[in-house]
Symmetry: C2
Subunit: 261 residues, 2 copies
């Protein structure tokens, strides 16, 4: 809606692909070099863009700080965290918390497995949306129309033989998930990794987040992991209760352990 700002912001994804010099930026924006220079300078002043020693531009450090602060301000994360660590303590596996936002699903918290094997996932990293158990829960709760729209627009990469192959299959899976109130990912993202997930709901019953427990086959089989389902659901429900204000902060030990030492 604002041409100037629009152009300036278009520079960011462009630089995300890799460093670029003034000419390249101007070309890709379709504007004169002097215009691109002015925009880059403004971005630079705000720290969103950094000028490296060879004069080329790349994304700046302030982006990290912003992303970080954005995350810390999510109250669902704050409420959920102690529950997640407690769940991790009792089962030992990797625990994730994720939210949906305009077509994307992203992890907003993670407690690492206490087994030596680690999963590749990082807070802030967009989730493999077509296969992840948490993504299924979050998308399953969208209004019919939006759900269809999102499902159609997605790509369906075949990470493994068990990955969701296309939109119809995905929508069918979402219907099941919606029905049963929990979800799994059995080797759909990485052959040897399984997940069980449950939804966190707000006061109005809408799904505001989803949490999952993930473990590789080498540690527990899919069947064994599924036995954790009740525990996962109970944890998710506890978070829901607290988030929606029904449970007025139960345990006295809810405050301390934010951020593992």
């Amino acid at each position: 809606m604002s041409q100037t700002v629009d152009r300036a912001l278009s520079i960011l994804p462009l630089l995300a692909e890799g460093p670029a010099d003034l000419g390249q930026v101007a070309d890709r924006l379709g504007v004169h070099k002097s215009t691109a220079l002015r925009l880059l300078r403004t971005l630079h002043e705000h720290g969103l863009v950094y000028r490296q020693s060879d004069q080329r531009y790349r994304l700046g450090a302030r982006l990290f700080a912003l992303a970080q602060e954005a995350m810390e301000n999510l109250d669902i994360r704050e409420i959920a965290h102690p529950h997640l660590t407690r769940l991790n303590e009792s089962c030992g596996h990797t625990v994730h918390l994720a939210v949906y936002e305009e077509g994307e699903v992203l992890y907003i918290d993670k407690v690492e497995s206490r087994y030596p094997v680690r999963m590749y996932s990082r807070i802030g990293k967009p989730v493999a949306i077509t296969v992840a158990a948490v993504a299924k829960l979050l998308l399953a709760d969208l209004p019919e129309a939006e759900r269809r729209a999102v499902a159609e627009k997605l790509e369906y990469p075949l990470y493994t033989a068990r990955s969701t192959p296309n939109a119809p299959a995905f929508l069918k899976e979402l219907a099941t998930v919606r029905e049963q109130g929990w979800a799994t990912d059995l080797g759909g993202h990485e052959e040897s990794i399984n997940c069980v997930a449950a939804p966190v709901r707000g006061a109005d019953g809408r799904v505001v987040a989803a949490m999952s427990v993930s473990a590789p086959n080498v540690v527990v089989t899919a069947d064994e992991l599924l036995t954790l389902l009740p525990l996962v659901r109970r944890t998710a429900d506890a978070i829901s209760g607290e988030y929606s204000g029904r449970t007025p902060v139960t345990t006295p030990a809810t405050t301390p352990d934010r951020d593992s030492v």
Copy 2:
């Protein structure tokens, strides 16, 4: 330099403090609501801003994706990573990699300790710049003038009794670090945690990054940690060699293990 973009970008740090509605944004920017609305809409279209259910605005998911991509494009990180994991394998402690950028020092990679105790630090998180060993190395290498300017502008929070108290003390410490070519943080950030750090240098000898090994007192004493110094320096030098092209990718096993599974 561009008023419109400048205003739009000023919204981001503002929202980083927490969600705000249109009126608040307009007020803090000192512009009319209609103006603020147009800017917010543009930010929204680019995914940098999200409109939550109560109509208030907060920072959006795209920020994470951008920060993520920005990080993956840092070639120093790519080169260093296998060395960091190898170092972690041989000593077991937490290993960090950090860079300096316009007044800030930030972690760009981290390999977790193999001991049960974890440190609170996160990739992308700004470093405690006045005390961290890596920060000392990075700042010590700045040109005299810039170093002084930065040191003067910093705040010196007293995390512990051993924290750097003020600018003169900091500059003195930087001089020492510059001299000896390595740095430590002995309980300056958290009472019980010590670090040893060494610089990574580019072809021209300038410090481009710094790496450190950190461990809590309960695992090893400061003296014991210091015995790792030669190993840390050797690792840093190996990275330097590879980064500056002197060592044309030594080990055949340099390619695989990006991102632990």
